[in-house]
């Protein structure tokens, strides 16, 4: 579904300034139907990771596959068709303020040359999926942050994408409402859509027991599969866990795991990847949260 093979991205410095190495030799694979968190603090390279998946940027070295298409050599005119197979959600929602919720969702279909009849059929359906049928004719400024993000999510779903990519989807939303968004993403995932959530909030990744990829200083430093748990307990954590600083510092103590942990199928565990999980549990990680 998504595969990075030895991906390096260097931003060339503008006249005089130095080149910036944003990602260095990243290898990973995300299977169809997975739910993955990509975490890292600002400047770690997660935005570049996102842009490479969306083909906003092209890898300097290596190959990026999304939906079985190789993006590095992709022709410019094929990019729109790649993006129609992806649904993207941003931290700032990116809704058009002069359009109603319905029109915002319809816009994504209109500009991709879809007939009026199909738009009329599809938009109410996706608005219903995100639970906002009743607010179809409200403008974004009349809606809460959570509702706006749900509209953005509805817009991302109109093309029935195989992958949903969410960039800090809960960044601008109250903590209580962000759970709603995450649950919605889980529901979307449960019907087979691959979901990639890029965030700097380690707590978020910890509250939902999902595969978590950590990027720091342009390198993939850990790739932790979800801990096998009783399905009922997976969601609904009680309180945030573990200070961020500890989480960030932790993987650097385990540099040997990098490279081995990647590209392993979901569910299969290796000793290298188990180590950090145990540490987290010791520190009162998700085990406690699940209770």
């Amino acid at each position: 579904m998504i595969r990075f093979e030895g991906v390096t991205k260097v931003y060339e410095g503008q006249s005089g300034s130095k080149d910036v190495l944003a990602l260095h030799d990243v290898n990973l694979e995300i299977q169809k139907g997975e739910f993955v968190f990509v975490i890292g603090h600002s400047g770690a390279g997660k935005s570049t990771f996102l842009k490479l998946m969306l083909r906003e940027e092209v890898a300097t070295e290596g190959e990026v596959y999304v939906n079985d298409r190789e993006l590095t050599t992709m022709r410019e005119r094929d990019v729109p068709y790649l993006r129609r197979s992806l649904g993207v959600v941003f931290q700032d929602f990116r809704l058009i303020p002069t359009m109603t919720a319905y029109e915002n969702v319809a816009f994504a279909m209109r500009v991709t040359n879809i007939s009026d009849r199909d738009i009329k059929r599809r938009v109410p359906y996706v608005l219903n999926l995100v639970g906002l049928s009743g607010k179809a004719h409200s403008f974004p400024n009349e809606l809460s942050g959570g509702e706006q993000q749900r509209i953005a999510l509805a817009r991302a779903l109109v093309h029935s994408p195989a992958i949903i990519i969410a960039d800090e989807p809960t960044g601008n939303i109250d903590p209580e409402l962000s759970v709603e968004i995450m649950e919605l993403l889980q529901a979307i995932n449960s019907v087979g859509t691959t979901v990639v959530v890029v965030t700097h909030e380690h707590e978020l990744a910890q509250r939902f027991n999902k595969r978590t990829i950590t990027i720091d200083h342009g390198e993939l430093i850990s790739d932790v599969p979800p801990k096998p748990m009783h399905p009922v307990r997976q969601a609904a954590p009680q309180r945030p866990v573990m200070p961020q600083t500890q989480t960030q510092a932790m993987p650097r103590q385990q540099p040997q795991q990098r490279g081995r942990a990647i590209r392993q199928p979901q569910g299969m565990t290796q000793p290298q990847t188990r180590a950090p999980q145990q540490r987290r549990s010791d520190n009162g990680g998700y085990m406690e949260g699940g209770k």
């Binding site: 068709y81 129609r84 990116r94 816009f107 209109r110 991709t112 040359n113 007939s115 109109v158």
Partner: protein, 307 residues
């Protein structure tokens, strides 16, 4: 592309234009003035060349004879001229005939000439003349000199189309040069103003463009409304300029039709009538306007719409 998408894109383009009222008006104004000046220069040029070609068809030279010339001497001179090279026809117009011709020309106002009528009327101020047409216009001036040499003192004035036509031809050349110079400068200004307008629209809509990009709109689809905007601006300017040029031309025709402008009659009757000019002007202006609009759009869009 679906019809509904096409409709949507056209609507978006117009919406942009209205949202950007001031800049759209500025672009329309500049482009319309450019077209107006072009139109004025072209009309002046075509009318002058029509007059020049009329004049060369009227290859008639008139030699006015001094009043002291006796009638039989004049007739003899006429016969002499008839035998000369390059002379197709030669006729003698007496003083009395000159008055008759003038009466005919003045029509209803000819009463004022009543006092000068009749043979050998001493009050008659009009001179007798020898009227000559030539077979080869190229040798017009040589023929004229030969006749003048033969006539000697008898001829006090020669009216030949060659003088006027050479003035008109140089006027036409000047009009062409100045006209095209202005058109080139204003054309560039129009392109700059239009591309600036489009740039503003792109800037105003950058959020929407960004959204269009990540939901997978094709580049052509994103660009289309901007072309609609540019071409609409061009078309409106074209129609406006046609209206202005035709209005002014109509005014000039009206003015020249007045009795006080009769002295320009020779020129006036060779001018193109309104019915002949408006359609070609409209077609040319709309085509040129939308072309400039399209060029203005494409020059700004590539740089500011990295899609």
């Amino acid at each position: 592309m679906r019809f509904s998408s096409f409709k949507y894109l056209v609507k978006q383009g117009w919406h942009n234009m209205i949202a950007n009222k001031l800049m759209s008006l500025a672009s329309i104004g500049v482009l319309a003035s450019c077209l107006f000046i072009t139109g004025a220069a072209v009309l002046l040029s075509v009318n002058v060349s029509s007059f020049v070609s009329y004049l060369s068809q009227q290859n008639e030279i008139e030699f006015y004879l001094s009043d002291t010339t006796a009638a039989d001497a004049a007739t003899a001179f006429g016969q002499q001229v008839s035998g000369m090279d390059n002379v197709a026809e030669c006729s003698y117009i007496s003083k009395a005939q000159a008055v008759e011709e003038m009466k005919e020309w003045m029509g209803a106002d000819s009463d004022v000439l009543a006092a000068y009528e009749g043979d050998d009327n001493p009050e008659n101020p009009l001179p007798a003349s020898i009227r000559v047409t030539v077979t080869d216009l190229e040798q017009l001036s040589a023929t004229v000199s030969a006749i003048q040499a033969a006539g000697g003192d008898m001829i006090y004035k020669t009216q030949s189309p060659s003088d006027l036509s050479s003035i008109l031809v140089s006027l036409q050349t000047a009009v062409n040069y100045i006209g095209w110079g202005l058109v080139a400068i204003l054309g560039i200004v129009a392109i700059v103003v239009i591309s600036n307008t489009i740039r503003l629209t792109v800037f105003n809509r950058r959020k929407e463009i960004n959204i269009m990009k990540f939901v997978g709109a094709t580049n052509a689809f994103i660009r289309m409304p901007f072309f609609v905007e540019g071409i609409t601006v061009g078309t409106i300017a074209g129609v406006l300029a046609t209206g202005l040029v035709c209005g002014c031309y109509f005014g000039i025709l009206q003015y020249l039709a007045q009795p006080s402008a009769k002295w320009l009659w020779e020129f006036t009757r060779n001018m193109y009538p309104m019915t002949d000019i408006w359609a070609p002007l409209l077609i040319a202006f709309v085509a040129f306007g939308s072309f400039i609009g399209g060029v203005g759009t494409s020059t700004s869009i590539r740089k500011h719409l990295k899609v």
